[in-house]
């Protein structure tokens, strides 16, 4: 019956694979996270620090390079197999071997195939190439890619493919099937249709309250909205701000929201003409109508942000560096020698709300004489251009790869990581060195302090104008209880949910 | 064994009185028929002659009440036996169509439905009018009819489609289809104009035989005066929406009383002397856009008088069976029967 089935309407077309070693899209990781367990995991409502899950204790060597984890002994896979250290070893080696997109989350610590071994049936030892901040390392062990796969089942489905002539470690099969131990069992995934998860009542920690969850693919937000109001789905995932206003009038529903761990920013290529001058960059930062944009385009479902560490992460600061201040902006422009402004291009994506945001930014900058020409690009055009450092201005957003401030601090401030700082050609050796240092700082408080220091530099002279951090807002029918909105899909826990 | 030799009874089968048909076209109202009157006796063949556009086909279609928009029968009566076709309801008219009055058209191939086997088309005519008939016996009857039409291998031919047949063969099918219900009146609208002379001869002979067999009357429309001479008992000559002369075939062809008929006969090159120019009626057919208020032939007529372009000439009775609508006969008035004027050699 419907009473023990939860139906969630969501746009899940980005799922490519449900294999932990491959999945790296929002929805893919989100679903995979429900099916598998990891050594460490975040609780359902706090995301600053992971807790034990499969592991029940750990040890770290003097030099901080060798980590030993003791596993629980009462965990069984969905197949009935006992979960042992061999499975953990197999799973980590698998990630390294397959070396697909999320692999870097583990390999960034120098984990190679021979750096992990089973000490005994329930003890795993991992050797890192360096000393790393434990906070970063633990967050990564709680990431989807570190999920533990049933080695026996995976080996049964080993096959040779073009890309992996030596065997794919079950990758092909696991893309659409599961071999996990998590609270949910994958029953069926039909791309563009639905994902069906059945409860695993024998889960060692979180046996679900419901029998089944159906995640139904509904691309159009309007269609999701109609269905949740009609009661054909229980949760309409991610409603747009303009929809929220009228959904709130519906007594059968409530809105659950959570800040998303996403930061919208304007990337500024510091080699492009006037943009090289930090006064111009600062003028831009002062010219933007932050509140107007948040109120109108985001419908209030966002908050201004002046740090690269989003709310919810350790190190987030509620500090305001920039406010809309046209006088200041104009003065800075004049100081920089552009009293009459200049012309510049802005690239942006084609999905809502990018075009609207871009237009609003265009409007904002026009007020200080900067004429912006907009280029709406599909993602396969936008990102290569960004990577090639060919943009002037780019409207983009950043989401964390794992749940630790480092995952943001490094791309924004360390050009050597060849991500955002590098793309905007902001080569600051000082911030780069500080980030490297933070990466190895075992003391969490000291580490966070470094990030804050770096942030100050980045905010004042860096190649970005931070725009806002959006909120996820979901429409939930009132007969659904124990729903806790999470900043990402994979942090969202399905097991506590109940239905009346 | 030609039609004109059959005994003429005076029992009227069809009588058309003062028929007017107008077409509402882009350029105005085409006054296609302006008071056409004639009658047709039982077992008689009446020829309707005239040039293109004079209204022959419209007359024929009116008899079956088949004038489609933008055409309209404005006035007149069409008495068939004792019914006025123009006042009957649709069902009654449909019963007459094909059952009591049939019509053969000029282009045999165009007149057969290209996607239905010809045998079925013939059988359909039977089925429409005899609901007690079943399909297969209708087919058998249709095939018998085809055999009667001198069609070799009637069974095989009946399973063919129109495009697989020659023009002559298609016209035979048409005739079979129209005569298979043994109608009382057959209207033949230029049945042989599209055919070669040798085929025309075949078809005319065939029609002759069948018409004799089933004792039907024929309204034969043609612009070929030779065909007319050979097949008709009486003829009516039309010009621009009027019947200008009507009478027994011999009397009209030998002794035409209307200048138009005379001219028409003289333009036929058959026997003309190649060393002289052909006789040609001057001018062109008048536009039918104006309603008729005078003799429509007057501006082409060699004998035109002043009143010809003012008044519509009435029909003057020359003999019992010869009448003409021309003021030249004024004085030899309708009732008197009067003496004839020799217009051929004025």
């Amino acid at each position: 019956g419907r009473s023990d089935v939860l139906v969630v309407g969501m746009a899940t077309s980005d799922i490519i694979s449900l294999d932990p070693a491959k999945a790296f899209e929002f929805s893919g990781v989100g679903i995979e996270a429900q099916i598998y367990d990891r050594l460490l995991d975040f609780p359902e409502d706090r995301f600053d620090k992971p807790e034990f899950s499969l592991a029940e204790s750990f040890n770290v060597s003097e030099d901080g390079k060798t980590w030993t984890f003791k596993l629980r002994e009462d965990v069984k896979f969905h197949s009935g197999n006992q979960l042992t250290a061999e499975d953990v070893v197999y799973s980590f080696k698998r990630v390294v071997y397959l070396n697909d997109q999320p692999a870097f989350i583990l390999t960034q610590f120098g984990i190679a195939e021979d750096s992990i071994r089973a000490v005994d049936k329930y003890t795993v030892e991992i050797k890192l190439d360096n000393k790393y901040a434990s906070g970063i390392f633990f967050s990564c062990l709680a990431a989807g890619v570190a999920s533990v796969v049933d080695a026996k089942v995976a080996q049964q489905h080993e096959q040779k493919t073009d890309k992996y002539p030596d065997g794919d470690r079950g990758l092909t099969w696991l893309s659409r099937n599961s071999a996990g131990s998590g609270p949910w069992i994958l029953r069926k995934w039909e791309k563009n249709e639905s994902v069906i998860l059945d409860a695993n009542p024998k889960h060692f920690m979180h046996p679900p309250k419901l029998k089944r969850v159906i995640i139904k693919e509904i691309v159009e937000a309007t269609s999701r909205r109609l269905q949740v109001e009609k009661g054909d789905i229980d949760i309409a995932w991610q409603m747009f701000p303009d929809q929220i206003k009228s959904l709130m009038k519906n007594a059968d529903l409530r809105i659950e929201s959570s800040p998303a761990m996403v930061i919208w920013y304007l990337g500024i290529n510091v080699t492009k003409g006037p943009l090289a001058d930090n006064r111009v960059r600062t003028a831009i930062r002062h010219a933007i109508d932050y509140n107007g944009i948040i109120d109108s385009i985001m419908g209030g479902a966002a908050s201004p942000i002046n740090t690269f560490i989003p709310e919810g992460f350790a190190g987030y600061e509620d500090k305001v560096y920039y406010k809309e201040d046209l006088d200041k902006a104009r003065k800075l422009m004049a100081d920089a020698g552009f009293p009459d402004g200049f012309e510049i291009e802005m690239d942006h994506g084609d999905q809502t709300p990018s075009p609207e945001l871009a237009q609003a930014l265009q409007n904002s900058l026009a007020r200080i004489g900067i004429t912006v020409k907009l280029n709406k690009l599909i993602s396969s055009q936008l990102w290569p251009k960004y990577r090639a450092q060919k943009h002037d201005l780019i409207l983009a957003r950043w989401g964390p790869d794992y749940v630790d401030p480092h995952t943001n601090a490094q791309p924004f401030a360390d050009y050597k990581a060849k991500v955002l700082s590098w793309r905007n050609v902001y080569y600051n050796d000082e911030t780069s060195a500080m980030i490297q240092k933070a990466g190895q700082e075992m003391d969490n408080d000291k580490r966070i302090a470094i990030y804050k220091e770096v942030n100050q530099i980045i905010q004042t002279e860096g190649p970005y104008a931070m725009l806002f951090q959006p909120k996820y807002e979901h429409a939930v029918r009132n007969n659904i209880d124990n729903f806790t909105a999470a900043p990402t899909f994979d942090l969202w826990k399905l097991y506590p949910i109940t239905k009346k | 064994m030609l039609l004109k030799d059959t005994p003429v009874t005076t029992d009227k089968l069809l009588s058309v009185q003062d028929l007017r048909v107008h077409f509402h076209t882009l350029r105005g109202i085409v006054h296609a028929l302006e008071g056409v009157s004639f009658h047709l006796n039982r077992q008689e063949t009446l020829g309707l002659a005239g040039e293109t556009g004079c209204g022959k086909s419209v007359t024929a279609r009116s008899v079956l009440r088949l004038i489609d928009p933008p055409g309209r029968i404005v006035s007149g009566r069409i008495i068939f036996e004792d019914r006025d076709i123009l006042t009957l309801d649709d069902t009654a008219v449909r019963a007459i169509r094909g059952g009591e009055i049939s019509m053969i058209m000029q282009e045999p191939k165009m007149s057969l439905n290209p996607v239905i086997r010809v045998g079925d088309q013939v059988a359909e005519a039977l089925l429409i009018h005899d609901t007690s008939l079943n399909r297969s016996s209708a087919r058998t009857q249709a095939e018998e009819m085809l055999t009667q039409m001198g069609i070799p291998e009637a069974h095989r031919t009946s399973r063919r489609y129109p495009h697989e047949l020659s023009g002559g063969m298609a016209q035979r099918i048409m005739i079979a289809m129209m005569l298979v219900t043994r109608p009382k009146l057959l209207i033949a609208d230029e049945p042989t104009s599209a055919l070669d002379v040798t085929i025309q001869a075949q078809i005319l002979a065939l029609m002759d035989k069948l018409v004799q067999d089933i004792r039907t009357s024929v309204l034969m429309i043609t612009h070929d005066l030779g065909v007319m001479a050979e097949t008709c008992d009486r003829v009516a000559v039309m010009y621009a929406g009027n019947i200008v002369e009507m009478g027994a075939v011999r009397s009209v062809l030998k002794d035409p009383q209307h200048p138009y008929t005379q001219g028409l006969l003289k333009t036929v090159p058959d026997k003309a002397n190649p060393d002289h120019p052909l006789y040609a009626i001057k001018g062109n057919v008048p536009s039918l856009l104006q309603p008729q208020n005078h003799c429509r032939f007057s501006d082409r007529c060699e004998y035109a008088m002043a009143r010809c372009s003012r008044e519509i000439p009435p029909v003057y009775q020359m003999t019992d069976d010869h009448e003409a609508a021309c003021f030249l006969h004024d004085g030899q008035s309708i009732s008197s029967g009067g003496k004839q004027v020799d217009l051929m050699n004025p």
Binding site: T222, D242, S296, I297, P355, Q359, N375, L377 | L26
Partner: protein, 300 residues
């Protein structure tokens, strides 16, 4: 030369003019009799007028964003309400007429000559030429049009100009088909044979005598296609490959507004109606042109 036949040029011009007048008068009568055609033409003429006088008609600057005035319903201040960026929809629809018209006309200007040339060549020469050209057009025809347009738009980069080229690329084969069919029908007609027997070259026959016969059916087809062209342009705009924001392109406006369909119906419905009406106008006009150009109609 006989002096009697010496032509007074003024008289000749006069006669030509009269002939043309007769032609137009007939056309006018045919036009007037066809009520839907009258409606269609009126719509298109209105569209033209609106496009020409857009700056005069528009009550606001179509690009001005007033973020505080977002999603206002239709009022006397904003006839069609405002969109998600607080722009006046009425003014955008009025200005959008220009964009739409430009796209439609330019596509027509590019794809019809190409289709016409290829189709006439294929139909006239037949044989290998026909085979090659028609296989080529088969390849393009077998592609779903929207997808082909997407491919080309993606290849050329986004923008109205490139969208126009892309749509033209996707469209020419159907005109080539039509022109070929028409050429085949006309090629063996007596009036072409006469010209040929008089020694006219192939080029002259094709250009001077066959093309005019193809033209009318192509014009008809084109006006019927206008709708698809406008909708394809809208689809491209929707995918980010057509007109770029903030260009007030109708298709773009419809797709931008679809998020607000339930609560702020006007945002996408009113530009949608603009598309509907214009496409219908073109269609009705196309049907009518067919009748007017048909010489048979004139005879009756």
């Amino acid at each position: 030369m006989n002096t009697e036949t010496q032509i007074d040029k003024r008289l000749a011009r006069n006669q030509r003019w009269k002939a043309r007048q007769r032609y137009f008068k007939d056309s006018y009568t045919l036009w007037r009799r066809n009520h839907l055609m009258v409606v269609g033409t009126t719509i298109i003429i209105l569209l033209l007028l609106i496009a020409l006088s857009a700056p005069l008609l528009a009550t606001h600057n179509p690009l001005d964003q007033i973020l505080s005035d977002r999603l206002l319903p239709p009022t006397w201040e904003h006839f069609f309400g405002t969109d998600s960026l607080g722009r006046d929809i009425f003014s955008r629809v009025v200005h959008g007429a220009r964009v739409t018209l430009t796209i439609a006309l330019l596509v027509a200007l590019i794809s019809t000559p190409v289709g016409l040339i290829i189709g006439v060549l294929a139909g006239y020469f037949g044989g290998a030429v026909d085979e090659i050209l028609m296989r080529l057009s088969d390849v393009f025809l077998a592609f779903p049009k929207l997808i082909l347009a997407i491919a080309f738009a993606a290849a050329l980069g986004p923008g109205v100009e490139n969208a126009i080229i892309a749509i033209a690329v996707a469209n020419w084969p159907s005109y080539a088909r039509l022109a070929r069919a028409e050429t085949l029908a006309v090629r063996d007609n007596d009036y072409i044979q006469v010209i040929r027997s008089m020694g006219a070259s192939n080029l002259r026959i094709m250009v001077g005598h066959i093309t005019p016969m193809c033209l009318s059916s192509i014009i008809v087809r084109l006006s019927l296609d206008m709708g698809t062209i406008i909708l394809t342009a809208a689809g491209l705009g929707f995918l980010g490959l057509g007109a770029q924001p903030p260009t007030p392109e109708w298709g773009l406006m419809v797709s931008d507004g679809r998020l607000y369909l339930v609560d702020q119906w006007w945002v996408s419905t009113l530009p949608g109606f603009a598309i509907l009406i214009v496409v219908m106008g073109f269609n009705l006009m196309g049907d009518g042109i067919r009748d007017i150009l048909d010489p048979h109609q004139r005879q009756s």
